[in-house]
């Protein structure tokens, strides 16, 4: 069988029904095989969007996302998307075309060493040297991407390899001697953790993105309810625990809520669950007091002890470990501690100004969205307006590029999300800067009739950078997006409807219109550039 056809068959074997990509000369054999298959191919308008869409698709579907690009510029355009997926532990299999094997290393047309270039931000990568290795490599790639701590795996496919003739086979099992991720938590460590929890007076759960990745929501809810322990979460852990639950405290981090950060500093024991305690979360670990006891549960042993010292590490799949713990955890009387935390919580007030208050806009939208809605934020002020004011009801989902903070992530990731879950409402929130980093995807949205809603907060500036400049230097520069286009008219050019909102009082009707509209819709909200993030 022609190798390219075998490759497409491997994808089918792996349950892939949708791929995101952009063709070119050195990937044409794979594309020819795709043409003859039932796999849906979404033609993006720039390769970075293929990786972001596959990322959004993976996060919503729970499957491994697949994206494809040609050699050279196609492959290098993918890089930002691959790095973004790596930082947020998103399972992707990334296929790139490569120049013919005999020409590799000679700087021929459209040659780029994508394996070397992506070494530090792929979980693993391959340059296929022998077509006979393809079945093993594909089997391994999907296994590596989706197990343990998930991440992107890249397979570089030289042109001649795609055209080679190989006997078709697909291995049932994988054997990689150096890769055996731990699944079950160590019983002794779990016992120690439970004892430490029992001894603590003010225990706190800190949930991270790992809970969302491991889909351990039910187990976490049970763990908190059975033990009585309240929950804070990171940006990536948003949605790990329902925000309408009495044990819910809030989001921590440099852009989190001060009462949630304060809760961490008041706790005498914190159970980190799938949180890598990045610098933006722990603010240089200042919020973690010296004498605090830390139980750290993570699938990646390298995350434990990297940023903060840990007393009790537990390595394994969060869902499995939480199940193990749930069997033995005892109810604690945390009523006084919960009461203290409840009293610290401040209610948000939303003022109305000259232009749209973006925080209020998100809160109004959140109130109108369904119980299964997905919100995808871009990067900048808009990201935190969204993260702070979108309510995590059970069944909802919030996504953002947390580790990399990649502008232009929101719209293509929302495309992937909508394709993965056509029946759920999907909203992309972005700024005028980030929108223009991915606005070419309006083409993909229009062509594929992707029914997603875009909320664009237009402050005519790179708002978050401007805010930092003002704070640090007392003045700002190079952040004004002068002569922004008429975004609503731009959407219209693609046949996408939209409205511009300049006052809070028009928000409700604009969102009603957007949500009842069949098909993609843009709501542009005009925002004062001096609006603060927090």
């Amino acid at each position: 069988m022609k190798a390219a056809e075998a490759i497409v068959k491997f994808l089918v074997e792996e349950g892939v029904d949708t791929v995101f990509g952009y063709p070119g000369g050195y990937i044409v054999h794979v594309y020819e095989a795709l043409r003859k298959s039932d796999i849906r191919h979404i033609l993006v308008r720039q390769e970075s969007a293929a990786a972001h869409s596959a990322n959004g698709y993976a996060r919503v579907s729970g499957k491994t996302g697949v994206c494809i690009a040609t050699s050279g510029p196609g492959a290098t355009n993918l890089i930002t998307g691959v790095a973004t997926a790596y930082m947020d532990s998103i399972p992707l299999v990334v296929l790139t075309g490569q120049v013919p094997s005999s020409m590799i290393g000679r700087d021929v047309f459209q040659e780029a060493d994508i394996k070397g270039a992506t070494e530090s931000f792929t979980k693993h990568n391959y340059l296929v040297r022998d077509a006979k290795d393809l079945p093993r490599i594909f089997r391994e790639a999907f296994h590596i991407a989706s197990t343990g701590r998930p991440g992107p795996v890249l397979i570089d496919l030289p042109h001649d390899i795609q055209a080679a003739d190989i006997p078709y086979s697909y291995p049932e099992t994988v054997h990689i001697s150096g890769y055996k991720p731990t699944v079950k938590g160590h019983e002794g460590q779990i016992k120690r953790a439970l004892k430490a929890i029992a001894e603590s007076e003010r225990p706190l759960i800190l949930a991270g993105g790992g809970v969302n990745l491991a889909r351990a929501h039910t187990e976490l809810l049970y763990f908190s309810e059975k033990s009585g322990i309240p929950v804070v979460h990171t940006l990536m852990g948003k949605g790990a625990f329902p925000s309408n639950h009495p044990h819910y405290v809030g989001m921590i981090g440099t852009h989190g809520f001060s009462y949630a950060n304060e809760a961490v500093s008041m706790a005498d024991l914190v159970v980190f669950i799938g949180a890598r305690i990045a610098d933006r979360t722990a603010g240089g670990t200042q919020i973690l007091p010296e004498n605090m006891r830390i139980v750290h549960i993570d699938v990646d042993p390298a995350e434990i002890g990297k940023i903060v010292g840990t007393n009790i590490p537990i390595v394994g799949d969060l869902r499995v470990i939480l199940k193990q713990m749930n069997e033995k955890i005892k109810k604690k009387d945390t009523s006084a501690w919960l009461e203290t935390l409840r009293a610290m919580k401040t209610e948000e007030t939303y003022e109305t100004g000259r232009l749209v208050n973006p925080k209020k806009a998100i809160r109004i939208l959140s109130g109108k969205l369904s119980d299964t809605a997905i919100m995808v934020a871009d990067v900048g002020q808009n990201q935190f307006w969204a993260a702070r004011h979108f309510e995590d009801l059970p069944g909802r989902k919030f996504m953002a590029s947390g580790g990399m903070g990649t502008m232009g992530y929101g719209i293509p990731a929302a495309v992937g999300a909508k394709i993965a879950a056509p029946d759920r409402q999907v909203v992309a929130v972005c700024g005028d800067g980030g929108f223009q980093m991915s606005m070419f995807e309006l083409g993909t949205i229009a062509a594929n009739e992707i029914d997603l809603k875009i909320v664009l907060f237009n402050n005519s500036h790179l708002g978050m950078v401007r805010e930092i400049q003002n704070r640090v230097f007392g003045q700002n520069s190079h952040t004004a997006l002068d002569k922004n286009p008429d975004f609503v008219m731009l959407a219209k050019a693609y046949g996408i409807s939209g409205v511009r909102v300049e006052k809070d009082e028009d928000l409700k009707s604009a969102f009603d219109q957007a949500l009842s509209h069949k098909g993609p819709f843009l709501v542009e909200c005009v925002v004062d550039p001096d609006e603060s993030t927090l």
């Binding site: 150096g178 042993p301 390298a302």
Partner: protein, 175 residues
Amino acid sequence: MSVNNRHVLSVLVENQAGVLSRVSGLFSRRGYNIDSLSVGVTEDPAISRMTIVVRGDSYILEQIKKQLNKLIDVIKVIELDKDRSVFRELMLIKVNARENTRASIIEIVDIFRASVVDVSSETLTVEMTGDEDKIEAFIDLMKPYGIREIVRTGLTALERGSKEIQSYKKYGEED
């Protein structure tokens, strides 16, 4: 071994293209200091073994081991204790040697159980193996004669006794 915070790691890796770059890249990327790295194939041709001498405190060492273990091509990482292991390095050294100094150089070479592998009218080239102390001591003794060139393989090491690296648990695995 932790003199000056130096540690000797023995690392089993898949014998595949790109492994060396992945491992060395990890060190430079994460700012870990590496004194030497030597690599060669093992009794199993599909597996290579690296000996890496690194510098760092216990936190850095822990991080290095964990990050190495994360690489898919890395099969096992162990730290070798100086007292329970054999450390060896091979050095070739070319020193000035004239009629009047040749004999005394050869005397030192004999004491060190090194061997002369090449002679010219102006130089002697000596091959020697030994642990680091021995090699450094030899270099010191050669200095007065005038060292022309030195090439060293970097440390290679094996644990004493009958235990094999494969019988160690993978790092992070607990009993």
